[in-house]
């Protein structure tokens, strides 16, 4: 009885842990890029409270906001990263990253934002 409970628990833990581990693996590179280019404004918690946000007239987007992020299509997110805020009718304070990040890196970033905002399809 104890043994089967143990087995059940282990199996459960493994199952529970696996997707998380896979998710982390999948987003290693995007996390690195986020921490390089985005964290200053969007924050360690990805919620728009970056160190620079203190004096910014427009608060950076909260990437943990499931509702707002869920309402934003992938193309819009990609456009904002690529062309900056102006490309999607938002603030100029979001710079364009085209020319710094590759197309693949920007696409991966959209996937990472879906993961962060829990809006993965």
């Amino acid at each position: 009885m104890t043994r089967s409970l143990y087995l059940l628990l282990t199996a459960g833990l493994a199952l529970g842990a696996l997707p998380q581990a896979r998710a982390d693996d999948q987003y290693v590179q995007a996390t690195r890029l986020y921490n390089t280019y985005c964290v200053q404004c969007h924050g360690v918690n990805r919620d728009g409270n970056g160190v620079n946000s203190r004096d910014m007239p427009v608060k950076p987007r909260d990437h943990t906001d499931t509702k707002a992020m869920g309402d934003t299509p992938d193309e819009t997110l990609l456009k904002a990263i690529k062309g900056g805020g102006l490309a999607v009718g938002k603030s100029i304070l979001m710079p364009k990253w085209e020319g710094v990040l590759t197309d693949d890196e920007m696409k991966d970033m959209v996937g990472y934002l879906r993961f962060v905002s829990k809006t993965t399809k």
């Binding site: 690195r32 890029l33 921490n35 390089t36 280019y37 964290v39 200053q40 404004c41 924050g43 360690v44 918690n45 919620d47 409270n49 970056g50 160190v51 620079n52 946000s53 203190r54 004096d55 910014m56 007239p57 900056g84 603030s91 100029i92 304070l93 710079p95 364009k96 990253w97 020319g99 710094v100």
Partner: protein, 240 residues
């Protein structure tokens, strides 16, 4: 902005002190040449020649800003003065991601002073010698176009508006102490520190200096570049 004080001394500060004591006790007080200081100390944290690979990993590993183009970046008098009395230029350090910490209650992230190392200070003679040596670095790399800064009559209020609002520079750079972003180098003594031609070149294409640096390439038109560079040359506030 209030500067954190660093009570601990880095070994790099202690070693030269020990050297000096030794030299004095043996009766040979001799300032090192600029090249000696560069090779004995600066290289511990700074690239003084162009690194073989300029990849993102290197940016994460480096401990201090690159100096291999110092001669086309800095003004020599500023270098000499600063090396004798180093003050903070980058409030969040050379890699902000390493020093920023999440704050509680959905307030802005803060900078952890323990993640930052103070810069050692040099004596007057060595500061002069090192500055002269640093000024030799970079002119052959083709990074800066001489005379690119046109020095048009400045329109400070317009340029200040560009800096703080229209082009978003103030999000990362502070033009006034205690105001503006802190992830990028402070700009309120940018005019004393930086050569105008360098500012023009860097604004036009930061990734020419490092392909992975996070200073965005803003595609500014030449009029804006000139105005912003002109504005920065006017910022000569004493760094603290």
């Amino acid at each position: 902005m209030k500067r954190p004080m660093f009570p601990r001394l880095l070994p790099s500060v202690l070693i030269p002190a020990a050297f000096a004591t030794l030299a004095m006790s043996s009766g040979h007080v001799q300032a090192r040449t600029g090249q000696e200081v560069l090779q004995q100390q600066c290289v511990a944290c700074h690239a003084v020649s162009k690194p073989q690979s300029l990849d993102l990993e290197r940016l994460w590993q480096r401990k201090g800003p690159d100096l291999y183009y110092a001669g086309i970046k800095f003004n020599q008098p500023w270098l000499e003065k600063w090396l004798q009395n180093p003050t903070t230029i980058r409030p969040a350090g050379v890699m902000p991601a390493r020093s920023v910490r999440a704050a509680a209650d959905k307030t802005p992230d803060t900078i952890d002073p323990s993640a930052l190392a103070p810069h050692l200070a040099l004596g007057k003679d060595e500061a002069a010698a090192v500055s002269a040596e640093l000024m030799k670095l970079g002119p052959d790399l083709g990074l800066v176009e001489k005379g690119a800064f046109r020095n048009d009559p400045p329109n400070v209020s317009m340029a200040s508006m560009l800096f703080s609002k229209l082009r978003g520079c103030a999000s990362c750079h502070s033009a006034k102490p205690g105001n503006g972003g802190s992830s990028g180098p402070e700009m309120y003594d940018g005019g004393a520190r930086l050569q105008p031609d360098y500012v023009v070149a860097y604004l036009r294409d930061p990734q020419k200096f490092d392909p992975h640096v996070w200073m965005p390439r803003l595609d500014l038109n030449d009029a804006d570049v000139q105005k912003l560079a002109g504005y920065i040359t006017t910022l000569k506030g004493e760094a603290k």
